[in-house]
Symmetry: C2
Subunit: 345 residues, 2 copies
């Protein structure tokens, strides 16, 4: 467990993008592309599919050459399939993009750089193949040194319940209030949305906290890093990722994310979800190790399955019970403003 | 965070060994070689240095060819230097070993496989270059499923205070009592001693708990895995490693390791060491997630800086205070037998 030389670098993606949809007919498999359209519209020049009945984002349909002419610098593979593979049917479009002068960005399990035909074409056209699941080199071990600036981390009772959208919403709201704030991405989609970040789940565990330190460096005293969380301290598979991120990001404020009605860890029916009280308590206890001033700024509920009135009722009862603001950032409203106030208190 | 196909494999080293000491004149840099001599004497055929004033382990001094003739299957680089590099002065000996039909095993930061001259020679002589810092391929994500058999994990207040020797001592003592037990190595030296294991600090964090599950598979109900711990839940750099190992190894019993008199995390003077009470409590709280029956079997103190009477006095007072057996496994004695009884209770 020795430290290596520090190189202060994250992944950086060439923006703006052309979004590649492959031949995906189900919107669920194009979540990344929809996320990019919704959260980084100014970075999305257009869309490209390789089948007529593929899903559409409602963006201009462009060839790689047309996208390049409109300023695109890379084409992002914005779809996933079950195996995380690059399909043969996609290859003509991917090669056309390289030929047109676009870099390729992928977040699949199969790395672009492990596909010989793409490597050869990228070399020929002097383009880059960027896998957002591959961490940068030279990540140092963490030092635990207190850094300047403010940090907010979205944590959760489980995976896949809104930590990314909570952090994106809070960063956007902070900026709307005129604050100096940055969204800090820790997963594939988040990195594509923000154009930079650290794929925390792909970092070697000895350097996990160090990667989080690198992602959220020293900043001016009034600057906020709003950090996308990963996994959960209670997740039997991924808690190591969550703890390294918590220690390394040394948050001043946590916002705890949860989906009402979810009773068990997704995919692991033997593991009941922790209570919100327990989640707040454990994150504060462990987070205190690198930031003794850590506090809970509120609870973010994913209420997409509730009606507006059900949601508001729930915010009120949960807020009374827990003693912190409770809101759904996607719904916004006065509850969310109250949560923001409490984070900035 | 998707699982990959499960391949139930650990690192396995070709035993017995010839121990390579390089030109190391300070015993402190040959800790690995001394550990191998002390803990796996039956696997150590002899020693080889490439300088006359190098340290000696008191083993037969053999050339690679002589070691091969006595049954050695690999030569282990049992020394470290500040940079973790393979020195030019070592190369003739390393090449001679490959030529004599020995595989090479290294645990340095510089991988053997990144040294072209060694790669070429290994290919020529059909030998393997094994880096014990490189995890096996195909580690799955953890499932959290309860496995059969019993598990004991050595945890600690910090790094480098006796977790490996505590686990080795307990595994040896269990076997002496006629129990079915295995030492499970999680770091470089431990892997070399046992001939197999998992370099937990080199595993990608998403698979950290999965690697621990793979290291300690289903076993007969009366079998004990005695697992070497890594880092500390309180270590601002390495807690992710410790939590993944705790969750994945789902111990029935923890033994908490500590060095009396150590007040701060080694190398990080701003971080006070946690109390033993806090260390026990946090390990049990987090460990309960994958094994609700987890309990503390006792405390292992590294008393190498104390006299025998000071140590015994300390065992008594600490045991009264904490309510669990306290011993130094290296000293043994009735306190250690009592700790073993309590672990097996």
């Amino acid at each position: 467990m020795n430290s290596t030389a520090s190189v202060s670098t994250q992944l950086h993606l060439p923006q703006p993008y052309l979004l590649f949809l492959g031949d995906t007919t189900e919107a669920g498999y194009a979540k990344t592309a929809f996320g990019l359209r919704d959260w980084a519209p100014e970075q999305c020049v257009g869309e490209l599919a390789c089948s007529e009945d593929a899903v559409t984002l409602g963006l201009p349909k462009l060839t790689p050459a047309e996208a390049k002419a409109r300023g695109a610098r890379s084409m992002i593979i914005g779809v996933a399939n079950m195996g995380g593979r690059i399909l043969d049917s996609w290859m003509p479009s991917l090669l056309e993009a390289l030929e047109a002068g676009l870099d390729l960005v992928g977040g699949m399990h199969t790395r672009l750089a492990d596909t010989p035909a793409l490597v050869a074409a990228a070399e020929r056209h002097q383009r880059r193949l960027i896998d957002v699941r591959t961490p940068p080199r030279g990540i140092p071990t963490a030092t635990g040194r207190k850094r300047s600036g403010k940090r907010l981390l979205a944590v959760g009772t489980d995976c896949a319940l809104g930590k990314k959208y909570t952090a994106l919403s809070i960063a956007r709201a902070f900026k709307r209030r005129g604050l100096n704030a940055d969204f800090r991405a820790t997963g594939q989609t988040g990195i594509m949305i923000s154009g930079s970040g650290m794929p925390m789940d792909a970092v070697v565990s000895d350097f996990e906290a160090g990667a989080a330190e690198m992602l959220t460096p020293d900043a001016p005293p009034d600057h906020w890093d709003v950090i996308e969380g990963q996994g959960s301290l209670f997740h039997p598979s991924y808690a190591a990722v969550s703890l390294g991120l918590l220690h390394g990001s040394q948050p001043d404020v946590i916002v705890v994310c949860h989906e009402p009605g979810r009773t068990h860890i997704i995919g692991l029916p033997d593991f009941p979800l922790p209570s919100l009280e327990e989640t707040i308590d454990l994150n504060l206890r462990l987070g205190r190790r690198t930031n003794p001033a850590i506090r809970c700024g509120g609870v973010s509920l994913n209420t997409s399955k509730l009606s507006a009135s059900e949601a508001r009722e729930l915010f009120a009862t949960e807020s009374r019970r827990l003693g912190v603001p409770v809101a759904d950032p996607i719904r916004g409203g006065e509850e969310f403003e109250h949560l923001l106030d409490h984070c900035l208190r």
